[in-house]
Structures are given as structure tokens and as C-alpha cells.
């Protein structure tokens, strides 16, 4: 049974990468959008552009994983293709995990491009590679689950896009990408602590620039909790919608 689940999961991942993710508009959206934002910010604040790299990386993972993830399930429900997957001999968690894995692989691939550019510009000294890899993996998982949640929570593709943007854009400004969380007003600092992007940015900052590893471990644990909780919530909503 588990073998069937895993085989189906992987088949869905490969199919989604081929049919949805690896398309020029999607790749450019995943890379250009965060670049444009950070570039605009860096031009206006010419100080320490290097400090924007963790935020740029986290933002890239967020937008690359959720760009399609947020609409792919609702889209397939609308065209009936999801039903074909539901007829296959795999459990619902495997189906959803297959969808998530496509977003994760794409998000990490795009992040790799940004990472190479950033490291070429600022050097690789002081980078904690294991922490960097773990943070990118868990961030991608949490963001993909967030995208899936948006996709299963609504009935129309445009609703999913709206919902995803409703979450992504405030997160972009509150998650410590442009302004450190501690510099935000106290009320917004509390809100920031409920956003996965905050922990992704902070853990990436420690991985790239340095900092307390214990603190990074806590951020990773919170990211893992976000990923698990959002996945379970998305799974429950999907099961309820299909019942």
C-alpha cells in the first residue's frame, strides 16, 4: 500500500513539474518578482544590500513554491483531472504530498539560481551549508503547504490567487525581508511571529551571515511545525470537500 502511495506521489510530482512548473512564465515569475522588489528596495536604501540576501532568498522560495501550488488543485478540480487522480490506487495524503513536492522541487530549483547569484556577489565565507539546506527545505515545505491550503479552501482559480496574495503580500512586508522584525511596531511584531516567512528569513540570515545556532534550531522547528500543521489542515479540507 505504502509502495503504491509513494509511486503515485512521485508520478504526480513529475507530471506537475512537466505540465505546470517548468514553463517560462512560471520560472520568470518565481525569479523576477522577488528580484524586482529587493532591487527597488536596495536602490532606495543604498546601505547594506548584502543584508537583503536572506530575505530575497526566502521571498523567492515563497513565490516560487506558491505560484502554482496555490491554484493547481482547484484548477484540476475544475477541469475534472483531480478525479482521475482520486481514482488511482493511492491515498489522499499521497496525492496531496505529490502536489506539494512539485512546488517544493520547483521552489528549491529557483532558489538555487538566486543563491548562486547572491553567493557569487557576496562570497561563500561563513555560510553554514547544512543549516542553509535545511532551512530552504523546510521553508519550501511550509510555503508549499500554505499554497495547497489556499488551493483547497476555495472553489475557483481566481479565488485561490486572491487568497494566496492576501497571505503573501502582508507576509512579505511583515516577515523581516525589508525591515527587521524587531524594528516593526510592537503589534506588528506579534503578527510577524505567526508568519512562516519570518522564521525562514531569520534562519537564512543565521545560515548566511552568522548568529546563534540554537536560535536557528528553534526557527527550523517552527518551520517544520508550520509545514506539518498546514499540510494536515489542507488534507482535512480537501477530504471534506471531496466527501
Amino acid at each position: 500500500m505504502l509502495v503504491d502511495d509513494l509511486r503515485g506521489l512521485w508520478a504526480i510530482t513529475l507530471k506537475d513539474l512537466r505540465t505546470y512548473y517548468l514553463k517560462p512564465p512560471n520560472i520568470s515569475w518565481g525569479i523576477l518578482f522577488p528580484f524586482a522588489f529587493v532591487l527597488a528596495f536596495a536602490i532606495r536604501n543604498t546601505g547594506d544590500a548584502c543584508s537583503l540576501v536572506p530575505g530575497l532568498l526566502a521571498l523567492t522560495v515563497l513565490f516560487a513554491t506558491t505560484s502554482m501550488e496555490a491554484i493547481v488543485i482547484v484548477f484540476e478540480r475544475r477541469i475534472g483531472a483531480l478525479e482521475r487522480l482520486l481514482l488511482a490506487p493511492l491515498r489522499l495524503w499521497a496525492l496531496l504530498a505529490g502536489k506539494l513536492l512539485g512546488g517544493i522541487v520547483f521552489g528549491l530549483t529557483v532558489a538555487l539560481v538566486v543563491l548562486v547569484v547572491a553567493l557569487a556577489a557576496y562570497g561563500t565565507g561563513g555560510v553554514s551549508w547544512p543549516l542553509l539546506v535545511l532551512t530552504l527545505l523546510l521553508s519550501a515545505a511550509a510555503f508549499a503547504a500554505l499554497g495547497a491550503l489556499a488551493s483547497v479552501a476555495v472553489s475557483e482559480v481566481f479565488e485561490a490567487q486572491t487568497l494566496a496574495n492576501f497571505v503573501r503580500f502582508p507576509m512579505m512586508f511583515l516577515g523581516g525581508v525589508f525591515v527587521p522584525v524587531q524594528d516593526l511596531p510592537r503589534g506588528l511584531q506579534v503578527v510577524a511571529r505567526f508568519l512562516p516567512l519570518t522564521y525562514a528569513v531569520e534562519a537564512l540570515r543565521i545560515a548566511l551571515v552568522g548568529g546563534q545556532l540554537g536560535q536557528a534550531g528553534l526557527h527550523l522547528a517552527i518551520l517544520a511545525a508550520f509545514a506539518a500543521a498546514l499540510f494536515v489542515l489542507a488534507l482535512r479540507i480537501l477530504a471534506w470537500r471531496l466527501a
Binding site: D4, R7, A11, I12, T19, A81, L86, L87, P89, L242
Partner: protein, 309 residues
Amino acid sequence: MNEAILVSQLTKIYPAAKGKAPVRAVDGINFAVREGEVFGFLGPNGAGKTTTIRMLTGLSRPTAGRACVLGLDLARDVARIKKCIGVVPEVPNLYDELSAFGNLVFAMQLYGVPRAALSARAEALLARFRLSEKRDTPFARLSRGMKRSLTIAVALAHRPPLVFLDEPTTGLDVLSARSLRRTISTLRDEGVTVFLTTHYLGEAERLCDRVALLVGGRIVALDTVEGLKARVQQPPTVEVTLAAADGAVETRRLPTDGDVVAAVRQALAEAEGRAVLDVHTVRPTLEDVFVQLTGLSAEVMLAEKGGKG
């Protein structure tokens, strides 16, 4: 002969929408489908055909009742059942951007067909359904008939012993529909059990070993086509085709009380010297059975789908 499907008191009630009563889509139906037969499930729109298929294929949970598919309990073994069945939905739902070949391979991967066999089996299916030339064409760019053929090919890709076909010829042109009917006959010859829902009475008459008539979520009759026809207490009709003066033809139908010869004599007497082009008897059709047993007109079946059988 073993039963491929055994259904007992199967019921599906959809919860009440705002201000409306719950909908009893399938109402305690019982039937058995024998291995290797083509079993027709006939009824007008809203009769419960698709809901029944959705329950038997694990897409929808029954509200009550029990079903065994290929000897496996639907409530306990749905994943194993899914592995052994193929489903062709009424609306083809393959991936528009994948090619014909890509859709076949993806379907086989989902069902765990060994990697070494994928390519050869996909090519063989494309050849069988005359789609080899469209191997690399995206699904979205295939004709409607080709889309339906590919959907059937995908349903057969993992070689299931039981196939559900939901209104497979709806919306197809005459040639495509005929080709699909041939495919269904071939499946029976190969020993595959076919569960066929259709609202085309003629199609069911030609293809099905046994037929269940479903109206309002209930089975009102279940028998072989000949068995159903025998239930209709209706003597044959004589149909006479006459040549008209302007070169056209005129067809007359004369009811009999069982004496066909008397009816033929009457028809010839009424021919008034015109050439008689054809005389034959017309026996009750499945359409007559449907009308008599359901109280509905046969047009109800076609009008709601907007097609011709």
C-alpha cells in the same frame, strides 16, 4: 459464473442545500454484474447512474448499503478495488498539455506498471485505438472522438478486468460512436466486464448482455434485452414502404392483433396499385420496454442530453 459487482441496498443521499430537502440520488438498489458481461445501466438524466458509478469506484461514499467489487468489500478495500478497475468518465478528463503518449504513461505510472513495460504498452494502446499518428499531439488538440478513444485507452492501460464506461458515446459523431461500440464488443470478447451507463436505448440493445432500468434512483427492471422485451405485451406491427407518385417513398405502420398475414393483406389492399418496396414486421424494442415500464417517453432520455442514439 462469478459476480464482478454485487450491490445490496446501495443508497446515496445528498445533504439538504439551503431551503431544500435532501436528495435521495440512489435509493436502495440491488443488482449483480456477472464476470465478462456488458451490463447496461439505463436511465434519464438524474436517474442516479453516475452517482452509482461514483460509489462503486470509490469516489463517493454510500450513505447506506453494501457493495462488493471483484470480490472486495467497497467499505474496506477501496484502494485494492481501484487498482483493478478502469473508469471512463462522461467528460474526458485527461491532461490537456500532455501528449497522447504522455497521458498513457502517466496513467500507467499511477497504477504501478513496471517502467520497462511503459513505452511498449503505450505504443500498443495507441495503435489499437488508431492514435499512433497522434502520439505526440497534446490532448487538447485531439478531436472529440480521439479524446474519447484516448480516455478509454487510459482506462485500459493497467489492464483492469472491470471497466466502467459513463455515457461513452455521448456527443460523438456517428463514425466515432460506431468505433467505440466495436471497442466495447471487443472488450467483452477479451473477457473484460463492462459496466456501461447510457441513455441511448439502441446502443444498450446492441451491446448489453443484461440491462437495468434506473428511474428516480430505483431499478425498475433488470433482465436480458430479450427478457425485457418479452415483458412487453405488445403484438408486432407491420411496416410497409410504398413508392409515391413523385418518386418519394411512404412508410405506413399497421398494428396487428397477432395475425401478421391479415395485416399484410390489408396493407397491400391499401397500396392502391403503387409499388410495394418493402414489407416487414416490427417487434417491440427496448424503447417500447422503457416507455411501458417507466411511464416516461423515450424522448426524455435523448432530449436532456441533446443527442441521438
